[in-house]
């Protein structure tokens, strides 16, 4: 965990005091809505269909148990007893009163949490691998660099009013769990000739005009991280389009000027500043690293007797095979807590669950919790001998559905049940799909499958990169859904291909089931995944059968 310093704490307290004053002036009429709206947005406060929504930043998806308790407290005291974890590794509360927001923010600030830069045309929360610092796949802990980016980008005076919002993701593992190729900037830590540096990818993104990012530099020495980011942001800030909100993201600029020319501009800007104040030396890295408290992993053996005995229980064995991953420290494991119980809204957790998760993190996981962009939670460090007991506790809380990475582990945006921009609902569709695919044996047989649902073209549910992507469109007051196949967000990211005409709300589940049945009929064997079959055969065979009964 990163431990905030005195400066962070004082800054947050000042910010809450400012916001309290702004809210009071708005409620008294001293500020108009036009004056107030940018102020509330700067603090992550949106006005949605039924209420104010507060989005809270969870830097690179890392939470302490105390912070999770603070979230549970806010859910219970100021909201309606639950919160929604997002694809940006943040959390949103849907029902907070404006006149209570300053108190909620003060309570959050006491735990080092806030909503700053979770809205507006600024640099948003840098996301990373939820297994950072735990997986043996990574070459270094990417959170160190995410924290450096956080400090640089927080209230950066030059980049507070960019043409549009700006999102950065970073990974240090071969398998990309942070979707770096669909971000404004994606950073991949790798080694060359014994030195660690970054592959720099720009211009990826989803939304109305999706693009896979382009590599503009194969290897950037880590000392140059901030100066290079600054150069990219400057090129974007001065050349990005401000005349049309739909063309204002960096992906459009990269597309319009071409990757080569964009890269040339960045390199030219960088040449001016690379040896300046932003250069990171060993002391700078050490100062940040010092503030990360890494657990002191006890020397333990893999597969202790408590674990191997428990594996005789089929239910535990199924969960273990699905939700537990290899840890870099012997005798430890990474555990995913599924926030996708059958029939429930994806990514939601109740206040009671948040409190219980915090307690379990203290008992079993060195007090540390991660948020995954798939809208699940992770305990990054668990002793293997504790897995059976942890499973029993999680199961009792409804957090041990063995569906991680499977068809019912659905990403879904809030959609028309909450969101003011939505065309259609997302959550009820996700609920019906998870009910249709509720049988653990069946979904294990179907294998790896990501269904991603967005309630409008803004694509908060990442539908373009779902193995099955579902986008809500409204026609004459009716809900319809477009389906794409073959998208993926990992290191081989690609955008899904449209299956055919949009289908009505009452048909979607059937159509998805026919797609799944087609896959099962066409696969060479259980080892050939859904995505592999789509890549091998294209969408045509799926199209024929998906619409066959329509």
């Amino acid at each position: 965990m990163y431990v905030h310093d005195e400066f962070d704490r004082a800054f947050l307290a000042d910010r809450v005091a400012d916001f309290r004053d702004q809210v009071a002036r708005r409620l008294s009429g001293a500020l108009t809505e036009e004056e107030f709206k940018p102020l509330r947005l700067m603090n992550g406060v949106y006005l949605q269909l039924h209420a104010y929504m507060l989005r809270i930043c969870i830097p690179y998806g890392t939470l302490s148990s105390d912070q999770m308790r603070a979230l549970g407290h806010v859910a219970r005291r100021y909201d309606r007893g639950y919160g929604h974890f997002t694809t940006r590794q943040n959390i949103q509360f849907n029902w907070i009163r404006l006149d209570e927001l300053p108190d909620a923010m003060a309570d959050l600030a006491a735990a080092g949490l806030h909503g700053i830069q979770t809205s507006g045309n600024c640099i948003r929360n840098t996301t990373t691998d939820q297994w950072a610092g735990a997986t043996p796949e990574e070459i270094e802990d990417p959170r160190l660099y995410a924290e450096i980016i956080r400090q640089w980008s927080t209230l950066h005076p030059e980049f507070t009013f960019l043409p549009r919002k700006f999102k950065i993701a970073i990974t240090a593992a071969k398998h990309d769990r942070a979707a770096i190729r669909v971000h404004d900037i994606g950073l991949r830590l790798h080694r060359r000739d014994g030195e660690t540096g970054f592959e720099v990818i720009v211009g990826g993104g989803l939304g109305r005009t999706p693009f896979i990012g382009k590599t503009i530099r194969d290897f950037l020495p880590k000392a140059d991280l901030l100066s290079y980011l600054e150069a990219i942001l400057r090129v974007y800030n001065s050349g990005g389009r401000r005349d049309n909100i739909y063309k204002a993201r960096i992906k459009i600029q990269v597309h319009e000027v071409g990757t080569e020319e964009f890269s040339r501009r960045v390199e030219a800007e960088w040449a001016e500043i690379r040896d300046g104040a932003l250069r990171l030396d060993d002391a700078a890295f050490a100062a940040i690293a010092d503030r990360f408290q890494t657990p002191d992993f006890a020397p333990l053996a893999d597969r202790p007797a408590d674990l191997t005995d428990a594996l005789a229980d089929p239910a535990f064995a199924r969960w273990h095979a699905n939700a537990v991953a290899v840890h870099k420290a012997p005798g430890h494991a990474i555990v995913t807590l599924s926030l996708k119980p059958v029939g429930k809204p994806p990514g939601d957790a109740t206040a009671d669950q948040m409190d219980a998760i915090a307690d379990l993190a203290d008992r079993f996981a060195y007090g540390e919790i991660r948020v995954a962009h798939e809208q699940n939670l992770t305990f990054p460090h668990v002793r293997q001998k504790d897995l059976p007991e942890l499973w029993r506790e999680l199961d009792a809380l409804g957090l041990a559905t063995p569906n991680v990475g499977l068809i019912s582990d659905i990403i879904a945006c809030p959609g028309l049940d909450y969101c003011a921009l939505a065309n259609t609902r997302s959550i009820p569709l996700a609920q019906r799909l998870s009910e249709r695919f509720a049988d653990p044996a069946r979904i294990a047989d179907i294998g790896r499958m990501h269904i991603n649902i967005s309630g409008c073209i803004n694509a908060c549910g990442h539908h373009h990169v779902g193995h099955i992507g579902i986008l809500g469109v409204e026609k004459k007051d009716q809900e319809f859904y477009q389906i794409t196949l073959g998208g993926k967000a990992n290191h081989k990211a690609r955008l899904g291909e449209l299956l055919g005409p949009a289908v009505g709300e009452d048909e979607v589940v059937e159509v998805v089931e026919r797609i799944v049945d087609t896959y099962l009929a066409l696969r060479a064997g259980p080892a050939e995944s859904f995505i592999a079959v789509v890549q091998r055969l294209g969408v045509e065979p799926f199209k024929e059968r998906a619409y066959a009964a329509g």
């Binding site: 039924h50 007893g81 404006l98 109740t350 809900e479």
Partner: protein, 103 residues
């Protein structure tokens, strides 16, 4: 630039003016007496563009009680407004999803 208050408003059927309450964001409807009600059945119903425009101007003039006023199509049942499309049905009835923690 034309001020929103001077812009034309075309309606295609019965219309009410809706917004969110400033203090808590709750959905509200402009009433015939130019107050706000949380019950759509209390809404003033405009059947001409001129009346809708006048009501919208009244709503936009109230900076203290409501935010983000806009005209919403409604159906009239026994002289009272009711929501016509899914968006307004959800605004009136709340999210369509069951969640045990909801108050």
């Amino acid at each position: 630039m034309t001020s929103p208050l001077q812009q034309k408003l075309k309606i295609t059927g019965p219309t009410a003016i809706t917004a969110n309450r400033l203090s808590d964001g709750v959905v509200v409807w402009l009433t015939p007496s130019h107050g706000w009600s949380t019950d759509i059945a209390d809404a003033a119903i405009a059947t001409t563009s001129d009346v809708a425009m006048t009501l919208l101007s009244v709503a936009n003039g109230d900076e203290i009680h409501a935010v983000g006023a806009y005209p919403a199509r409604v159906v009239v049942v026994n002289g009272r407004a009711a929501p016509v499309n899914l968006r307004e049905r959800i605004r009136v009835g709340g999210p369509t999803i069951a969640f045990e923690a909801r108050a």
